[in-house]
Amino acid sequence: MTAAEDVVELDGVAVKRGGHRLWSEGTFALPAGACVAVIGPNGSGKTTLFELLLGLVAPSEGSVRVLGDRPRRGNRRIGYVPQNYTASVGEAVRCRDLVALGISGTRWGMRPLSANDRGRVDAALEDAGVAEFANRRVSRLSGGQQQRVAIAQALVDDPDLLLLDEPLSSLDVASQSDVVSLIEDVSARGDVTIMVVSHDVNPLLPVLTGAVYLLDGHPHYDEIGAVVNSELLTHLYGTPVRVVRTAQGDLFTRGGGG
């Protein structure tokens, strides 16, 4: 892949869900190495956008390209953490085994993990800051720790594109900042393009290079400075949102009119 290649390209894309059109005229391209928020109200089709890129849902119009190819199920170059992921993981699974499934979960047969693969699992746990919980059950960790284990699983097979669906929802502020700093570390490596669905862009602002926003049923992409402005966010969430720019150039968004 050349550095200039766009990782995600949508051209005139529309998708249907349950028989009716969810969004249309999706035309944008995300450059390699970008870290992009996907924002929009509930039910606007953010998760569906991910499913489109994963080849789980087909576009009803237009063309989609991911990492230079048409979307297809089983694309090992994409790492994915679904919404509410760890809620579905019961008592039965250790963190180490969950992460290992990112490598071995698609393999048939009983061959044990190679030493090399075990090393990759350890490294992924280490990078996500959860190495100390490797042998604990996923259900015994806090929400933020669970989310980091899930991200470790998505990263263990060295993807080029990382899709995180609402990784910050239902986390307290401290856990959110742990997850954000993990996303920041991954983004800083420069070889992974990241898309993050989030209700609240505030905690992600230091990391983001841009945002896809689902507004009026048409997805658009903008670089970060352009997307975060008051009118747009106010329109998007239907409640007044104020954007504050600090002396360092950081952006903050605030609810409420005052």
Partner: protein, 282 residues
């Protein structure tokens, strides 16, 4: 002589244990214990303990129906359990959510089983042996069938185990990664049908849960390492069958009662220990 006169220490138990019907019981019980240990981990990880329970009930009319028609009980059980497995697999998660509908269907299956049982000659003993198992009446042919089922189960699981666990833990990610989640769901239900078909004949429809689900659930209190859970679950099931049969011979108890009691006791101890460990923050 009171009604409890039959229960008591049997001084000739060592001869009983060496009788051919007892040897058959040990072999058949061991095969079922191994099969239960292999599938139990997946049943618990998939959170389909209810499916095991449901299949046992669905098998009941199959077994009694086979007796009426003069067919082998295994054949009747297998047909009903596989049909039930495919139906539950097609309904997916919905079956455990629609409690009233599922409960009603299971009650009807049991009623059908009672009807077929009443049509069979020697109806009471037919129904009793299917509801509560008939380990002491296992034949050589049954043992051969059980051995084949256990081999098939082991061979298929050896191939699909990892993708199956992946699909059980998180169907969404597994599907995105290219794992055939739906097909694996069907394969799993058919394997469960094989195990239920075997277990009903040994431990009975009503007690099957304690041998197929309880040992693996107990093992999970101790460890979450997949291989260790399968090994420990199988060990608990085997020990339950062996000591249960010994106790049955020594004290002239129904084997199903003895086996289930031991499995439940092990579960209870491991449950209490794990509770205590959680409370002490370990």
């Amino acid at each position: 002589m009171g009604v409890v006169a039959a229960v008591g220490y049997q001084s000739d138990w060592f001869d009983v244990v060496r009788a051919p019907f007892m040897v058959n019981a040990f072999v058949a019980g061991s095969l079922v214990a191994v099969a239960a240990g292999l599938i139990g981990y997946h049943v618990v990880v998939r959170r389909q303990v209810f499916a095991a329970h449901a299949l046992a009930h669905i098998g009941f009319p199959g077994a009694t129906g086979a007796v009426v028609l003069g067919l082998p009980v295994t054949a009747g059980l297998l047909v009903f359990c596989i049909a039930g497995a495919l139906a539950i697999g097609a309904l997916g998660k919905a079956v455990s959510e629609r409690e009233v509908a599922t409960g009603t269907v299971l009650a009807f299956a049991t009623a059908l089983g009672v009807l077929f049982g009443s049509l069979a000659s020697r109806s009471a003993s037919t129904v009793t042996s299917i509801l509560f198992g008939n380990l002491l009446g296992v034949s050589g042919a049954q043992i051969l069938t059980f051995a084949c089922f256990t081999l098939v189960l082991g061979a298929v699981l050896a191939v699909v185990a990892r993708p199956l666990v992946f699909a059980s833990i998180d169907p969404q990610v597994a599907e995105a990664r290219g794992v055939p989640v739906r097909a694996l769901g069907v394969v799993f239900m058919v394997l469960l049908a094989l195990v239920v078909t075997m277990s009903v004949q040994v431990i009975g429809t009503l007690l099957l849960f304690a041998l197929v689900v309880t040992p693996s659930a107990a093992a999970l209190y101790v460890t979450a390492r997949p291989a260790a859970v399968v090994a420990l679950g199988t060990a608990i099931a085997l020990v339950s069958v062996w000591t249960g049969l010994l106790a049955a011979a020594m004290f002239d108890l129904p084997p199903s009662f003895a086996i289930v009691t031991i499995a439940v006791a092990v579960w209870l101890v491991l449950y209490a220990v794990s509770r205590a460990r959680v409370r002490h923050g370990r």
